[in-house]
Structures are given as structure tokens and as C-alpha cells.
């Protein structure tokens, strides 16, 4: 059993599940109907991606693990998602900026992962990349619209940037299982992703007439199970039913 491959797959699943859950919180609360539908659609794509990765992780783990047990019966220290995915939504500026920063990372990540020697990871990446292309386009447009909009929208975008920026570095700092998987030609090289990411963020920020912050300190821990207090609340809500009524179905 390749524990690094399992951890790697779980991280991809957890990232998708947690940001998908956050986006789903907008369902019924979006600023206008069309954007409510947009973010709910994006949430659905993420839940689908999470299922594909959890199903694979469950097969690798064996021993009765299922996609549901991995999503609903693990506790905070077992989750490996990057911290930026679990932060509260904040306002629309914070949600769409987070989506842009994360989708840019995911876009280049999946682009590389398509070439993984692990055919299952490669297949899920190729499938997901098509969806992420739409997410990246949509979130880029929001960042530009808000940055280049009114004084109020720009102010909100800058406040969001201040809130989120310290959480971007973690995406590019490899955990031990990521380094191991890269060496086995199954994982991606995060330093290459980082270069692409910087370039894309710079391009979109220039159009939005905002600057990349100078500070470079990175808050980290998520990849190895050390989370902010927010993840516990997400899991409490998401896992309640399966914890209270184990095996419940409808």
C-alpha cells in the first residue's frame, strides 16, 4: 500500500469537498439569481471531483472504506485540505477572490496531473480540468469587475486580498507525501505550478488595477491536518447526519 498516494489523493479530495461545501453555502443567498446559480454549479463540480478522488482513495485503502466514510467519518486532524479552502466566505469579493486564487492553482495543477503515471489520477485531472477552466474564467472576471468597478467594490476586493493573501503560499509548499509522489512521477512539481500561478495572478490583477501584496509569509498546516478553527464547524454541520444516524440513506 502506497501511503503517500493515499494521502495525496485524500488531499485533492478534501480540497474539492471543503471549497465545494463553502460555495454551496451561497445557494439561495447569491447577490443575483444568475450568480447564485453560477456558484452553486461550481460547488456541484467540486463535489463531483471530490467523489472521484474519494472513490479512488477508498479503493486504495480497502478495508471497507467508502467515499462516504472518508467524507463523513474522518475528523479535523485527518483532513488535508489547504487552509484557504476552509476560510469563511466573507462577502462576495472574498468568495470570488478566493475562488480565483484557488482555481488558478487548481487549473495548472490538473494540467500537470494529467501527465501523471498514475492513470486514475490522470483521468480525474483531465476530467476536472474542463470544469476548472470555466471556474477560472468566471472568477477572473469577478476579480477584474470588482477591482475595476466602484470605489466600494475595489475597497472590498482589497480587504479580501489582505485577508486571503497569507493563505496562498501554503498551496505551493509541498508536504512530505507530495515530495514523495513527485519523485515517483505520479505527483506534480509545485514550484512549476507556482510560476504559472504568479504569472496568471499578475495578469488578472493588472487588469483589475490592484497590486500583488509585498508580504510573503505563509500560514500553513492544512496539508498535514493542522487546521483553523473554521474546519471543525464545517464538519459539524456536514457530518451531523451520518454521525447521529450512521448509515442513513435517502
Amino acid at each position: 500500500m502506497n501511503q503517500s498516494l493515499i494521502d495525496y489523493t485524500l488531499q485533492l479530495a478534501d480540497n474539492a469537498l471543503i471549497i465545494g461545501h463553502r460555495n454551496s453555502e451561497w445557494c439561495g443567498h447569491g447577490p443575483v439569481l444568475e450568480q447564485d446559480i453560477a456558484i452553486s454549479n461550481i460547488a456541484l463540480d467540486f463535489i463531483g471531483q471530490a467523489r472521484n478522488f474519494y472513490q479512488y482513495a477508498a479503493e486504495l485503502l480497502g478495508n471497507g472504506a467508502t467515499e462516504d466514510s472518508l467524507a463523513f467519518l474522518r475528523d479535523v486532524p485527518e483532513f488535508k485540505n489547504v487552509l484557504i479552502t476552509e476560510l469563511p466566505n466573507g462577502d462576495w469579493a472574498q468568495t470570488t477572490l478566493r475562488q480565483f486564487l484557488f482555481s488558478t492553482y487548481q487549473y495548472y495543477f490538473y494540467q500537470q496531473l494529467q501527465n501523471s503515471t498514475d492513470t486514475r489520477l490522470a483521468a480525474i485531472a483531465a476530467k476536472s480540468l474542463k470544469e476548472v477552466t470555466y471556474h477560472l474564467r468566471w472568477s477572473s472576471e469577478w476579480v477584474i469587475r470588482l477591482g475595476d468597478g466602484t470605489e466600494e467594490s475595489k475597497h472590498r476586493l482589497l480587504t479580501a486580498l489582505d485577508e486571503l493573501w497569507n493563505f496562498t503560499g501554503e498551496m505551493f509548499l509541498p508536504a512530505a507525501y507530495e515530495t514523495a509522489l513527485l519523485q515517483e512521477n505520479m505527483g506534480v512539481d509545485l514550484s512549476i505550478i507556482h510560476q504559472h500561478w504568479n504569472q496568471k495572478v499578475q495578469e488578472v490583477f493588472a487588469e483589475a488595477s490592484i497590486q500583488i501584496p509585498k508580504k510573503s509569509w505563509a500560514q500553513q498546516g492544512g496539508k498535514t491536518g493542522i487546521h483553523t478553527e473554521h474546519l471543525g464547524y464545517i464538519l459539524a454541520e456536514m457530518q451531523f447526519l451520518q454521525r447521529a444516524y450512521p448509515g442513513a440513506e435517502w
Binding site: 446559480i37 461550481i42 456541484l44 463531483g48 483531465a126 476536472s128 477560472l136 487588469e207
Partner: protein, 175 residues
Amino acid sequence: MTIAIQHTSPEEKKIWNLLETVTDPEVPVLTILDLGIVRSVELAQLDNHQLKPIITITPTYSGCPAMDVISMNIRMALLQAGYQQMEIKQALSPAWTTDWMSEEAKNKLKAYGIAPPQYKQAVCTPEAFQDEEAIQCPQCNSWNTALVSQFGSTACKALYKCNDCKEPFDYFKCH
């Protein structure tokens, strides 16, 4: 023990004909064959000489909620035709694309009021505020239409409006 049966058998043709009767729950005018969701049909021979169909399907989008319903409907169609055992598998690779949709399917979509997918080109890139491809209004055939949102009533559709007849419409977006 199972033995693969030859690909072009009449039995296999029978399965394809049955699959032709299974429609997409969200776009009921299209069959799952029209959509290109069915990737392969195999038949295995069981010990009791009965045939067990093995159908491989692929999702349109990762989170498409219709997939479970489609699997169930395939199962129902096969059960009704007398098959007692069957297997429905999902494959992700190669990833589904609207290129697999038949011309006939595109005509059916349009008649149903949904603009059919264009060939993908520049549209499937992440560039912000890119020029939109012209999409024809399925109601009045005008090309004077505008994108409202890349995300529509289901994962596979975008929302447009027609500047001539003023009606909103769904566009089955390229993928």
C-alpha cells in the same frame, strides 16, 4: 466464469437498441446514445448460459446528478427485457466532450428549445471577458444574442438571451 462474446453479435445489437430507449432525465428529448454517454457494451456468458450485459458509461460533468438516475434507468430497461444480471461501470477517461454528440442530437436539442453546442474552439479557455461565439436563438433563429451567464439550469448549460425575440434560452455549452 465469464467469456467475452463477439462484438457484433445480434445480442449486443439488442442491448444497443434497449439503450436507445433510455433518455437523459434533465434533457428528456435526448437518449443516452445521442449524448455519447455510453462508451461500451459487452456481454458475458454466465454459468447458467444466460447473458450478462456490462455497460460502461461516462459522466458529462464530474458532479452531474443525472448519472445515478441514468444508471438506474439502464438497469430497469435491461430488467424489463429479461436480463437478470448486469453491471454498469463508470469510466472517466477519455473525458466526455460535446464533440461526441451526434448531428441528429443537435437538431433534436434545437427543436426542444435548447441551442446545441458549437464545435469547441476558443471558448474552452480560461481567458476573462473573451469574445463570445455567436449562438443562434433556438426560438427565432436570430444571431443577435448575448450571454447572461456561463452557468445555467444544469451543469451542461449556459444562459443566453435573444436581443430580437427577447426570450431567454439555454445553450448546451461546449465541453
